[in-house]
Amino acid sequence: MPLSRVPVVEKILSANDQVAETNRQMFDASGVYAINLMASPGAGKTSFILKTIQALSPEVKIGVIEGDTAPVTIDADKISAAGVPAVQINTGGECHLDAVMLKAGILQLQLETLDLLIVENVGNLICPAAFNLGTHINVLVASIPEGDDKPYKYPNIYRGLDVLIINKIDLMPYIDFNMDYFRQGVEILNPGLITFAVSCKTSEGIDAWAEWIRQSIRQYKRT
């Protein structure tokens, strides 16, 4: 039986990357700045989105795509109640969103009516880091109760970030969280990472984040 070696040299997730590129083109054609928001379960992704909507809407037209592993619309209902269009993607048990799933969600939104799209990824610190969605920036919501060792345990997700949100800082007095140790881990993996310390409970720090987003959208629309 003749044997032969066929050179391939193709990125394993190249099919995903191609769809991600299509997603990016759709965003850019409509002038929508898109955020991939990641976090572990319970870090406060949905609360953070609600605070962001409160701070920016209606001046900034926001849409939200909710990735959930189960067909419960708890998060999407909260977003809809805040008066912005929300689409839920049920990943059917999958631990992450990929570009194909996101594309299906995008097609349910009227992108041309939006300035900002927030994609809430599935709560997980490992898998979402591996899948490019075509969004413009990757944002992670870390929270104080998760512990200060998370950058050391989940280096890949920190390496790919554009912005880090440290949530629930109002809990600092009650939890043994060494901020210097946490920040050192982040600095090793992603030197100079833009970071906002916030509390979705007290709204501390939300204004600074909202201002950063306003400026990023302005800058994006200019290019």
Partner: protein
């Protein structure tokens, strides 16, 4: 774990290239995966055995060429292999590091019977 999605991609790429090469059967698949990729070889093999069934790649052997994580110290220029995650520069203890290798994640080649 996202190994199932990864394994499905490996199968899709394998079949695409095997068909292009007019192969009858795929016997070996060579993957190049950096140590910084969070992929468990055994899980990929486990899924592979299930999803490659009844394809021309059924029973093909997966070879994982693991590439060590190579770091360059931005403070003193030292290059070194990082065995455990987040090790500082062995020469100057700096944590200001750049990844030189270890993030590879591609299918290099397949071996086929024609």
């Amino acid at each position: 774990m996202h190994e199932l999605a990864v394994t499905e991609s490996i199968l899709a790429i394998t079949l695409k290239h095997a068909e292009k090469a007019a192969a009858r059967r795929v016997t070996d698949i060579h993957l190049v995966i950096g140590q910084l990729s969070s992929i468990v070889d055994d899980s990929v093999q486990f899924y592979w055995d299930m999803i490659s069934e009844n394809t021309m790649a059924q029973g093909a052997k997966l070879h994982f060429n693991r590439i060590a994580a190579r770091m360059k110290c931005m403070s003193c220029g030292q290059e070194y292999e990082m065995e455990h995650r987040l090790e500082p520069c062995p020469a100057c203890q700096s944590y200001s590091l750049q990844v030189m290798a270890g993030e590879e994640f591609y299918l290099d080649s397949i071996e086929v019977e024609n």
